[in-house]
Amino acid sequence: MAASVSSTRSPAAPTALRPAAGRPRSAPLRQAVSVVLLIALWQALSEWFADPTVVPSPGAVVSRTGELVASGGLLQDAAATLGRVVIGYVLGAVLGVAFGLLIGWFGWMERLLGPSLNFVRSIPPIAWVPFSIIVFGIGEGSKYAIIVYLVFIVLALSAAAGVRETPRIRVRAAQALGAGRRAVLLRVILPSAFPFILTGLGVALNLAFMAVVSAELIGARSGLGHVITHAQAMFETDTMLVGILSLGVVGGLFGRGADWLIRRGLGRFSNRVA
């Protein structure tokens, strides 16, 4: 019965290759079973190795998380990491968009600077961390520098591409209707470039998080990356896992939150284009 109903809506794939989202009702159950099995496997591994510095048990990691949260240390480090990403990201995004619009507006600037920006963009950001530490010190400066640099380049390139891809006919139509340069830039080019800028903001989000983690792993006195390297030095594998999982959680929350903010706060500007 259910099969015939669903087949009238969307034709079912052949049985041999039915897509995985076949029966949504049983999917949560299977996923729950899978989670339980994974945790059981983890527990079994920790029993097998019987050495908490190799594989700490799930229980040990949970209680370690409790301790670290209760002492306030974990939250402080998470706040340090998050603060670096947010400040660096916003600063880099604002500067990058402004620069991208500028070089896109003056086409010759983009032709002169675009190739080197693309070259620099293909360097893994972590490679700059030692240099950044030499120049800006081991404190916050070197972290901000890495994130600002990375976000700046991504957004400069996408904003410039957005300006370049603006249909000439729109610009001419606006000019024919008497718009000045300011009006053309703000009312025509900026909205046209907006989808590109939004894409760039999304890409930069993940890269910024990667960058802050790598900067903290190589040299920092606080932050979740520092929690991990410190735990490595002390052979506290449970603390290391807490750090790694916290990074996953913070990164996921940051990504979701920023994505929501970007689409909620900025998405409406790009609707005007259509």
Partner: protein
């Protein structure tokens, strides 16, 4: 006849300008404004690079990094694509994998480097494990998405024409999923590159990442810049090769898909 016209000259001028202008700015800034010991001018970097090329140091580190990237990337991608194909055809496997993948994809791979070192030491195996893991985790979702986006009617057409499972896989599923798989491979290669460099910086005794990190202890920023520039060349090279590859491979399949 084929004398370059004015537009051709202008284009050539831009190409030369795009190379010379940033280099000249860098040279000037480093010599006149900044500290040349801290930010070495490009002429000094080039001379150092020439020296490192001559004594084989640069070549040795580069080949080691490249080998690490390619072995890990190809092994991990093959595993990821195979698991992805299996997951795409079985809701059981897919649902079982999803929680694990959700955890793996939110944890930044660079953060796993200390864990890999703790388990496997600073052995070559630690890096191999990390890169294979990363490539597999990244390739599973893009393979599954590629297979899932295949219109059911194409599968049914193949089935009703009497094709068996293996034939459907090779003739319909794989070619149709290829665009998604290829774009996944491109992203995966970029990530593998990044993580190999990171792993070499954090715990290794060879490779471009090690070269950069080692220069830090002696504050030899010139060598550091040589390493950074080599990474830029490699990163651009990967992307160019991949773009060419995709341009060569895709039309064969993509055109058919559009008309069908």
């Amino acid at each position: 006849m084929t004398r370059p016209n004015r537009i051709g000259w202008a284009r050539a001028g831009f190409v030369v300008g795009a190379v010379l202008l940033p280099l000249a700015t860098w040279e000037l800034l480093s010599r006149a404004v900044l500290n040349p010991n801290l930010v070495p001018p490009p002429s000094v970097v080039a001379a150092t690079a020439a020296g490192m090329l001559a004594d084989g140091e640069l070549f040795a580190h580069t080949t080691i990094s490249l080998r690490r990237i390619f072995v890990g990337f190809s092994l991990g991608s093959v595993i990821g694509i195979a698991v992805g194909l299996a997951a795409a055809s079985s809701p059981f496997i897919w649902d079982a994998l999803r929680p694990l993948l959700a955890v793996c994809s939110t944890v930044p791979p660079i953060a796993l480097i200390p864990l890999a070192m703790l388990w496997f030491g600073i052995d070559e195996f630690a890096r191999l494990f990390l890169i294979v893991y990363l490539a597999a985790v990244l390739m599973i979702p893009s393979t599954v998405n590629g297979v899932r986006s295949i219109p059911a009617i194409r599968l049914r057409a193949a089935e009703s024409l009497g094709a068996r499972r293996a034939r459907i896989y090779l003739g319909v599923v794989l070619p149709d999923a290829l665009p998604s798989i290829l774009s996944g491979l491109r992203i995966t290669l970029g990530f593998c590159f990044m993580v190999v460099v990171a792993a070499e910086m954090i715990g290794a005794s060879s490779g471009i990442g090690y070269l950069i990190m080692q220069s830090r202890y002696y504050a030899l920023t010139t060598k550091m810049f040589v390493g950074i520039l080599v990474l830029g060349v490699l990163g651009m090279g990967f992307d160019t090769i991949f773009r060419r590859l995709v341009a060569g491979l895709l039309p064969r399949f993509a055109v058919e898909k559009r008309t069908g």
